[in-house]
């Protein structure tokens, strides 16, 4: 698609934008067609992804059954179910399957060269492609998601006020950007390391645990770090990972409110900014290194 776009280099800024828009639109249509062909597959696959949650829910139910108190780290059993389901929504925004490994591969096999030659911004192109993919994904995934959430509606607290919903939506958009730029930066390590798959795997491990995908991060509050008065949760709060799963879910459940909510959103936005800059630097230095040493 980029190849098609670059055949006739457009002149003015507006023309270039229009051309970009057309590329983007073509991409969107192709993605949509692809998804629709496999829609049965896709619905089945999306539903299957909820299966691990079923096990987690039963596990926590058993844990609640064995404790006298009705709440763990501020979560009732229903909260836990709702939490896991909401992290699925966060992950639908922040997870970027194949992004880092795709970038690393195109560096390794040399196909990145064409982005160095063509008047296309590689990161911009990837972002557009990813947005297209995600939009189409939501268009189709909304059905299985809605089904599951409707089925589990008793576990959720009453629908929150508009401010919270707005903050939730904002946190999701930011989590998409954060996930994208973190993974893109990771993929660009391919300029320096031949094999980034192990780095990507390590990132996934840390991400899985510290994003809150595995359990609500509030549960780490009781775990001491060794430094007096500082819990593991206090450390994790300063990392970007929690914004890709825990934070949007916590916002919806009303775990983060008021000034704390505003502060957290600002921190998330700051992390997005940091990752954008990191990504730019990685691209800039990486391509310079690449053209100096030859791919």
């Amino acid at each position: 698609m980029t190849a098609a776009a670059s055949h006739s280099p457009p002149s003015g800024f507006l023309a270039r934008r229009l051309q970009g828009l057309r590329v983007w639109w073509t991409m969107l249509v192709i993605c949509l067609e692809e998804r629709l062909v496999y829609r049965g597959d896709f619905v089945l696959g999306t539903l299957m992804r909820f299966l691990p949650i079923v096990t987690q829910v039963f596990l926590w139910t058993a844990v609640f059954g064995a404790t006298s108190s009705g709440s763990i780290a501020g979560y009732s059993r229903n909260d836990i179910v709702a939490y896991y389901l909401l992290t699925m929504v966060s992950r639908a925004f922040s997870s970027m399957p194949g992004l880092a490994s795709g970038i690393a591969r195109s560096i390794r096999d040399g196909s990145i060269k064409k982005y160095l030659v063509q008047p296309v911004d590689y990161v911009g192109y990837l972002l557009a492609a990813r947005i297209a993919h995600k939009l189409v994904y939501y268009a189709v995934a909304i059905l299985p998601f809605a089904g599951v959430f409707l089925f589990c509606r008793e576990y959720f607290p009453p629908i929150p006020d508009w401010t919270t919903i707005g903050a939730f939506a904002l946190s999701l958009v930011l989590s998409f950007l954060l996930g994208f730029f973190m993974e893109a930066t990771l993929g660009m390590l391919g300029f320096w390391f031949l094999e980034v798959s192990s780095i990507v795997f390590a990132y996934m491990l840390v991400q899985y645990m510290l994003s809150g995908h595995m359990f609500p991060l509030d549960m780490l509050r009781g775990i001491p770090t060794g430094v007096a008065g500082v819990s593991v949760a206090d450390v994790v709060r300063f990392l970007p990972f929690e914004y890709t799963a825990y934070f949007p879910a916590a916002v919806w459940l009303g775990k983060v409110q008021g000034a704390e909510l505003v502060r957290s959103l600002l921190v998330e936005a700051a992390w997005v900014g940091v990752m954008i800059v990191a990504c730019r630097i990685a691209w800039w230095r990486g391509t310079r290194r690449y053209s100096a040493f030859g791919g």
Binding site: M48, T55, L59, A62, A66, F201, L205, Y208, I223
Partner: protein, 272 residues
């Protein structure tokens, strides 16, 4: 039989030689699977900071539960090491015609197709499992019964056999469907249910789920029965479970063999 063993050892030797030529990769694979496992163990430790027991009155307190986890690690690492790599390759072999080369050899095709690759790095988790078991057993509320110690390896073997049968049937399905990217996913989602004690599946939804995963797809027998035998007091009901597991393992092997042969004969009559 000895011939099959010696062929298997030749396979294993060849795979070891291969793994050792890509030593860095081998170490990385060990490390990543260990990392994944360590993370899960950390999660279990976290869970036990909130509760003394998983499920009220189930007996799955910390040490028995870690014996359970260890059993799961051992069984899964055996399956991952011996059978998964070959099964994952099967679709590729159908596509490229490598399957033809297997079918002309004077050996059982199922044996060749399900055991020709050994992934030694997968044994890393099993070793940790053995270590964890050695840590947990002396700390159990009651020491394991001598009979239980005798039964344990047998039940591990049964668990492996049940999982092997599942792998084989999934592989047979991929011969039919002609693709396998979902094989591993499906495997993951299915075995996911066997990761925790069966007692957690209770209530209006859990009961039927437990019955389904015990009697229809006996995935809940895989880890639960050996772990229960070693980590919990022997009961009469436990005896029934042991007998049932041995039976289920045998039945699973027979059925999976039948399914696999059917898939192969379909391949034989359908391809050109």
């Amino acid at each position: 039989m000895t011939r099959y063993l010696s062929i298997f050892l030749t396979f294993a030797r060849a795979c070891l030689v291969r793994d050792m030529t890509f030593r860095a990769n081998f170490v990385l694979e060990c490390v990543t699977s260990l990392g994944w496992m360590a993370m899960n163990l950390a999660f279990y430790l976290l869970v036990f900071t909130f509760t003394p027991e998983i499920g009220l009155g189930t007996g799955w307190t910390k040490e028995p539960f870690f014996a359970f986890v260890a059993t799961g690690l051992i069984i899964n690492s055996i399956v991952q090491a011996l059978f998964m790599p070959s099964a994952e390759e099967l679709t590729e072999m159908v596509r490229t015609g490598g399957l033809d080369g297997i079918l002309v050899q004077p050996l059982d095709a199922q044996f060749l197709l399900s055991m020709h690759r050994v992934d030694f790095s997968a044994f890393a988790n099993g070793l940790v499992g053995v270590g964890l078991l050695c840590w947990a057993i002396p700390r159990l509320p009651q020491p394991p019964h001598p009979v239980a110690i005798l039964l344990y390896p047998l039940l591990i073997a049964c668990g492996v056999a049940i999982l092997y049968s599942l792998v084989i049937m999934l592989a047979a399905a991929t011969i039919h469907l002609g693709r396998n990217q979902s094989l591993y996913d499906f495997w993951f989602y299915l075995t996911n249910f066997s990761r925790y004690p069966a007692e957690i599946y209770s209530g209006p939804w859990g009961g039927p789920l437990r019955a389904l995963c015990t009697f229809v797809i006996p995935i809940l027998l895989v880890v639960n029965v050996p772990a229960r035998v070693i980590a919990q007091p022997l009961t009469e009901q436990g005896g029934m479970m042991v007998a049932g597991t041995v039976f289920a393992a045998g039945a699973a092997l027979v059925i999976s063999r039948w399914v696999f042969q059917a898939a192969l004969s379909k391949y034989r009559s359908a391809s050109s």
